[in-house]
Assembly symmetry: D2
Homo-oligomer: 338 residues x 4
Amino acid sequence: MIIVLKSGASDAEVAEVEGRIRAMGYKPHTIRGELRNVIGAIGDDRGKERLRALESLECVESVTPILQPFKLASREVRSASSQVRIGDVVVGGREVVVMAGPCSVESRLQVLDVAARVKAAGARVLRGGAFKPRTSPYAFQGLEAEGLKLLDEARRETGLPVITEVMESERVDLVAEHSDILQIGARNVQNFSLLRRVAEAGKPVLLKRGMSTTIQEWLLSAEYVLSGGNPNVILCERGIRTFETATRFTLDLNAVPVLKKLSHLPVVVDPSHGTGHWEYVESMALAGIAAGADGLLIEVHPKPAEALSDGPQSLKPDRFAALMTKVRRVAQAVDRDA
Amino acid sequence: MIIVLKSGASDAEVAEVEGRIRAMGYKPHTIRGELRNVIGAIGDDRGKERLRALESLECVESVTPILQPFKLASREVRSASSQVRIGDVVVGGREVVVMAGPCSVESRLQVLDVAARVKAAGARVLRGGAFKPRTSPYAFQGLEAEGLKLLDEARRETGLPVITEVMESERVDLVAEHSDILQIGARNVQNFSLLRRVAEAGKPVLLKRGMSTTIQEWLLSAEYVLSGGNPNVILCERGIRTFETATRFTLDLNAVPVLKKLSHLPVVVDPSHGTGHWEYVESMALAGIAAGADGLLIEVHPKPAEALSDGPQSLKPDRFAALMTKVRRVAQAVDRDA
Amino acid sequence: MIIVLKSGASDAEVAEVEGRIRAMGYKPHTIRGELRNVIGAIGDDRGKERLRALESLECVESVTPILQPFKLASREVRSASSQVRIGDVVVGGREVVVMAGPCSVESRLQVLDVAARVKAAGARVLRGGAFKPRTSPYAFQGLEAEGLKLLDEARRETGLPVITEVMESERVDLVAEHSDILQIGARNVQNFSLLRRVAEAGKPVLLKRGMSTTIQEWLLSAEYVLSGGNPNVILCERGIRTFETATRFTLDLNAVPVLKKLSHLPVVVDPSHGTGHWEYVESMALAGIAAGADGLLIEVHPKPAEALSDGPQSLKPDRFAALMTKVRRVAQAVDRDA
Amino acid sequence: MIIVLKSGASDAEVAEVEGRIRAMGYKPHTIRGELRNVIGAIGDDRGKERLRALESLECVESVTPILQPFKLASREVRSASSQVRIGDVVVGGREVVVMAGPCSVESRLQVLDVAARVKAAGARVLRGGAFKPRTSPYAFQGLEAEGLKLLDEARRETGLPVITEVMESERVDLVAEHSDILQIGARNVQNFSLLRRVAEAGKPVLLKRGMSTTIQEWLLSAEYVLSGGNPNVILCERGIRTFETATRFTLDLNAVPVLKKLSHLPVVVDPSHGTGHWEYVESMALAGIAAGADGLLIEVHPKPAEALSDGPQSLKPDRFAALMTKVRRVAQAVDRDA
């Protein structure tokens, strides 16, 4: 932490701040500048957040953190890239892993049909929502437990591992019984009790970025899972909220190289939610791979115009198959497989 | 909903879209324009979200909602402003209700001291966090159940009703035993299972806006509580996330008149979280009242520089008392009391 | 500037960075932390921007500025609040100065009618656009020189000083002949050649914030005018661009106390552009005053539904008069006049 | 335009709005819904902006545009993609055109050295700033006319056409004499008099997106140039302003497919300004091509740590050459050349 004092701060005030820094267990190091004094606080970083309280002193101008506050998620702590295994699928290796399927599980026929077709096209994981976070209480809320059973059937039929969302701590055990990866949705990225709970569930976790979560906050949310004893965390960029309304969200592909620099965790990209329009999914899927993503999460629906959720952003199976052909070409161009 | 067709859409395509609208239970009404055709879908609005799926048709340019999707929260359904009663305190009446206290309950002495002083200055409700949502797993997480007991003691000592945050469905009953108002924090504004759960707890709910929640989404979250049978919802503006970093968040006071137009629910403002700096709290508190807010939520700490959370934005008790004097003057200038 | 080195940076790398800092004319001061080294660069701040280039070194993690980069606009350089005089009107004194009038000057009758009515209601300055920045080339672009003459006539009739926008360096002399205050619009806040040019025009300048300009950047734009020799700069908050669409922009009243802390320049608020809806203008005007603004800029039109620009956000003269009564009450509540 | 009336609007009010729509030259078409009435206004779209003024009527809830307000930039008006020729370089064809060079022209040696090296690596256009828009008046402002001459020399030496920025109407003729493409920077995207002026200069225009410009506004700015008689407009995505601070801006690659859908104009991507960090330039350059961009604009400096501007985001020539090899591979993977 760097504590900047107001110009004109007296020696006594400098001494007071230094004393408080020591009292919190850090070593103060004061730089006397031309206009004002700056004090560095040296010591273990994880608790440094407390030093921010010094900003409430009249003589303090600002308290600026210098180091990233996450540890286990950091590439400094672990320089080799992590790989997360789901059966024989490895996320974070040479292969670009595509997870595809419907936004919501709507019926047995729908999910089995889509599952077979995305598998045929090259998807390695089946996605499908059983519990759905819906902005409106009047919207379709998912088939819930029934949906989980249909996902089990789709796994048996296709052999594809399954990813589905869990929204509540009370349901973690139930969902973990039926899902190979536990998805934490954007709206729950800072639902800290849920993060603590999935850390204990013994299944890999795919953690979506919140729509206004900074990359630093996102990695701190990952840190909740990692520090809870679960090293198998996959990060998923799915679009942030900006002023632009031509897309539903602004898929922030910059996050891919930033995360690759800061963290060893695998990163996948969700161009379906990120753009909100099927016409933009292909471009952004390919861009995500070129940016260095380890995988994609794509919504596919046999009849998007009749979908109970997210129809506008769903690809038809044919279009998904065509996309997969292009995915393979771009993956090879950046020395990956798909 | 207004469905805009692409230019050049054929009569057969218009007919197909009209047929799909009818199949979803709405009545299509087509306007033939010079460049393209537009179809209005007439009928009950709450399920209209499904019509968005039509955007996945090749001949459809866009699907634009025309009406607000919330019902029970709307001033159209209930034109008179709602009032929420907590004992003899009424939020949404002529009085501007000030809720004050520490960010976190840290110790018996701290909370009893602050409680007595904010009461003396004119606060009508005591705030204090027992369960704390913290961005970092390494930060102080609150005194939890012990904190709730200290709040009980502060209520007994001062007679002030208490507001504290509940973060998990499993803790709703526990928190409801100890708190007069259940606070839903910004990070849980779209934790829909928690919203459904507090709807059943029989206590008033203060629902903070999420940092990237639109006003429409926020009112839909309120709708979860209202449609769950609990009419006692207070909305709390606490700052949104923007590009500006001079303040921790951007307190969006525009939300006050917008909410007053769209909804009958009472609105309070939290200038402490909204700005993140104690030096800006007074100005924005007064501005909130002038904008028409029904109350304020303000953090007060006896020793901000030693606070375990949110020290930079906490007022000292003396400063809070000085603020209350000004609050009363501005409240009177807009025909309110405080 | 604080230069943070990557963890593992060698002594030779530290020495290299120190050398480069010295070569740019600053004094390096190195703090050796537990995990990494941090180097402060001490010296005159105005040129420190160049130090950012060090971020391109492999061994450098980040370069973080510590001090505000503006000088003449800073309250550190001039602690007393500045006042800007326009005839007998003083902006930045005890009086809250209201500037009102139509978005665009549309006709002789329109502008004379509005001028008389806003004066009667208590406005101290007449606003009106002759040159209009319009997003679309097909929209009404203003009466231009003819509009300036009509403003002259309105000044003669009412005695009110006039504020109008100048958009081009080539027109600064022309506009300065007819206007008592030169308004720089939001889209030109970083039109640096225009800023340099109005600095020489010998008239006070009202500098609107850009829709995505940080407060720091805005003060640097003011610095262009101040360092060009013109001390008479008024800052005008007019709304920033955020994700929220319920208002046209998000009027950021937080900017008022932030500017009052950082700068000595007077600050006015434009709730008309800031909200984009006449129904929200009153609340935000009053809130602006309560937040500490030195004035207001408000659009008034005799027939908003027929306005050639910004009809939705214009007040009718009667409504403006009613607002002025409330403005006076809130101003008095915060020890100001209006 | 769709005019939504408030619920409870009377027949007389509906008739009044219909009358006003007719008076503005449009044909009203009223849909009577269950809760409220909606009126479509049919007719030529370019002037429809005026209809927004109806929002100021008490009985009107909102006025929502349905069609895109730009014409000449629209793919509906011209379905074939436009190509912009600069000598033998074609932007918008099969080739991905890379424009590279220093942020600022700093010296003869610097620019000649970089020009030769980017040409050798495969760049087709030389970029370099002579007039620099700088946030601070104390920062290096460019070599101005001297810089233009150095660019001329670099063109003679290398045969590369040159792109440089023009910031002021008064300098358009001067810059047009020395530059093959006129660059309009992000801060001038809504400097409408400059846009009108470059429309007449007879040179292709590269129009950067503003940091808070929506795609619709950006295309309206392009419309100023197109309607001024210059069809040779290239759009350049260079990052928007969001809450995320890990990158300097958020390069919005979603804009690429959105623009390709809405417009026929060529689109290039600037990953240097978009990210602000050289470490992220490669990933985002490749992602831009995979997203469908027609070209790249990349900053290259022989000694970034000594650059007078934008050092942190500049590539060294070697790194640029390595990037070009990857650019070619990704371009081929999406059926383009480079």
